[in-house]
Amino acid sequence: MHPILSTVLQRLALGLLTLFFVSVIIFSSIEFLPGDFTQAVLGQTATEETVAAFRRELGLDQPAYVRYFDWIGALAQGDLGTSFSGRASSGVDRSRAVVDLVGPRLENTLFLATMTAIIAVPLALTLGILAALYRGTVFDRVINAVTLTTISMPEFLVAYVLILFLASLNPIFPSLANITVDTPFWERVYRCALPSLTLTLVIVAHMMRMTRAAIINLLASPYIEMARLKGLSPRKVILTHALPNAWAPIANVVAFNLAYLVVGVVVVEVVFVYPGVGQLMVDAVTTRDIPVVQACALIFAATYIVLNLIADVISIVTNPRLLHPR
């Protein structure tokens, strides 16, 4: 088999295995709940039968591994279970399916993340490469100082500073990003401007520094020196000698930061009251609505793992040493 294919397959298998273990961890978290949580969910006045029915619905009368396969099986069919909230002690069940809660919010979060990525990735790569090429100059120093400051700030500080200047003192953008299903596209973009700008600032700082480090590392290698000494033009050195080897680190940097976006989105959504998965998860944690928390955690973790997997595959596929085996 071609060495690339086998390496890629190996990585994919490892990724699937990780995903499996992560789902086991997320599933088994419910095992650590104190024994009387059914009463906590249903209220103190819940009757014996309602509690028993609820326990049966959760499958607590069955061994853990049976419940895991039930859960993962339902998950594969797109059923994430039922929320804990909306249940009453009298047995009236007004709870909603987790899918209905998560679905529309996932769309919103993806919209915000995509919008940020479209702005942030090209910007960060350009700045990073420029800083690496002109390292040691004033441009490089200024960019370094600015990004170091942004990295050290908590996301919510960046967000509130932006709100202070762009929404409160100079009302240009709305400080609340409340969007609904029928908000038109450009209106959506306008309302997402501040959350997206916050995420962009945070991510560009990380991504730009990592790109700069990767490129500088690369430009120090002997074969680049060799190409320069051969008398090639700087442009040719970069495009035909440096870039083929740079794809792997760049793909890693981008994936790492998009994965970072997954986490950053939680705080930013709360600041701007944006109806996304992050906000939903925080609300669910406060009310201890475990099925919703599990679903959100699984979505975030899966995104994180898949992004890292894609980066790995890209760095394998573009690796010149694997592409042209001896």
Binding site: L33, P154, F156, L169, R288, A297
Partner: protein, 304 residues
């Protein structure tokens, strides 16, 4: 003209009492060479620690004293005004330094104890012990730590002990990775082999043979971990699932006073009140990063 007598003898020189520089003198010489940013960082950290330790004496009012009017303006007995239920913001910021930093420090220590301990165990035993622990850590690291922390908090509840435990365990994975990597270079040394052959136990090899030789990267990592833990706790408190009221804490103070930002047009001071605790967090993180940068450059000779 008389010859000056030959005063030098080898015997005298050997007989001289050699004054070795004390540890403090050596430290001071290093400190004098430290760049401005490192000094800035150290002074800021010293101020924060001072405020944290003497919070009880420095704060004009008690931590949860809500006997004043809500949203009082700056000045007039309250340096930064009061919050939504009439607590003095300046006092709460001082107590917040103690609480947030104390919790972050305890968490980081615990993370190092757990992560470092397992890492040394893995590095010394190698074989299947190393494989099992390392693969387990790989899986834990596959989940973003803020998301993992949120999930665990929903199960164990948001009390300070569970907050410390959860974040310490999640962060110990990063400590494990680094400690294992640097310890792996040391365990193959002859003196470790010698210690093993003369029958020293696991504990001795960990403490006396390996730990002293991997200290510099660990100290630097401690600084970075501390600022990371600090930011995580602040973020969790900001989300309302970290440190719970009435305990003063910078993250939740930002959340509580966030609505004041909308009034910045009418009263700029009120508008920036919620930014003060957030700025305090950022300043400490910057300070720690400066010091760690300098320390890393010192110990590893890295210039980039």
């Amino acid at each position: 003209m008389t010859d000056t007598p030959e005063t030098y003898t080898a015997k005298d020189e050997v007989g001289q009492v050699r004054a070795r520089r004390t540890r403090w003198e050596r430290t001071w010489i290093e400190l004098k060479k430290a760049p401005l940013t490192a000094w800035f960082g150290m002074i800021v950290i010293a101020c924060y620690v001072f405020v944290a330790v003497f919070a009880g004496w420095l704060a004009p009012y008690a931590e949860a004293d809500s006997s004043f009017g809500a949203y009082l303006p700056w000045g007039d007995g309250h340096v930064f005004g009061t919050d939504q239920i009439g607590r003095d913001i300046f006092s709460r910021m001082i107590f917040g330094a103690r609480n947030t930093m104390g919790i972050a420090f305890a968490t980081t220590c615990l993370a190092f104890l757990i992560g470092g301990g397992f890492a040394l165990m893995a590095a010394i035993s190698r074989g299947w012990v190393d494989q099992v622990i390392s693969r387990f850590v790989d899986v834990l690291m596959a989940i973003p730590s803020l998301i993992f922390a949120l999930m665990l908090l929903s199960i164990f509840g948001s009390s300070i002990p569970s907050l410390i435990m959860i974040i310490a365990v999640l962060d110990s994975t990063r400590v494990f990775r680094l400690t294992r990597a640097v310890a792996m270079n040391v365990v193959v040394m002859e003196y470790v082999e010698a210690a093993r052959l003369r029958g020293e136990g696991l504990g001795w090899i960990m403490r006396r043979e390996i730990l002293p030789n991997i200290m510099p990267p660990l100290v630097a990592e401690f600084g970075l971990r501390f600022s990371f833990v600090f930011l995580t706790i602040a973020a969790l408190s900001f989300l309302g699932v970290g440190i719970q009221p009435p305990t003063a804490d910078w993250g939740s103070m930002v959340r509580d006073n966030a609505s004041l930002i909308q009034f910045a047009q009418y009263d700029l001071k009120a508008g920036i009140t919620p930014l003060l605790p957030a700025a305090a967090i950022a300043l400490l993180t910057v300070a720690v990063n400066f010091v760690v940068d300098w320390f890393l450059m010192k110990t590893s000779g890295l210039k980039e």
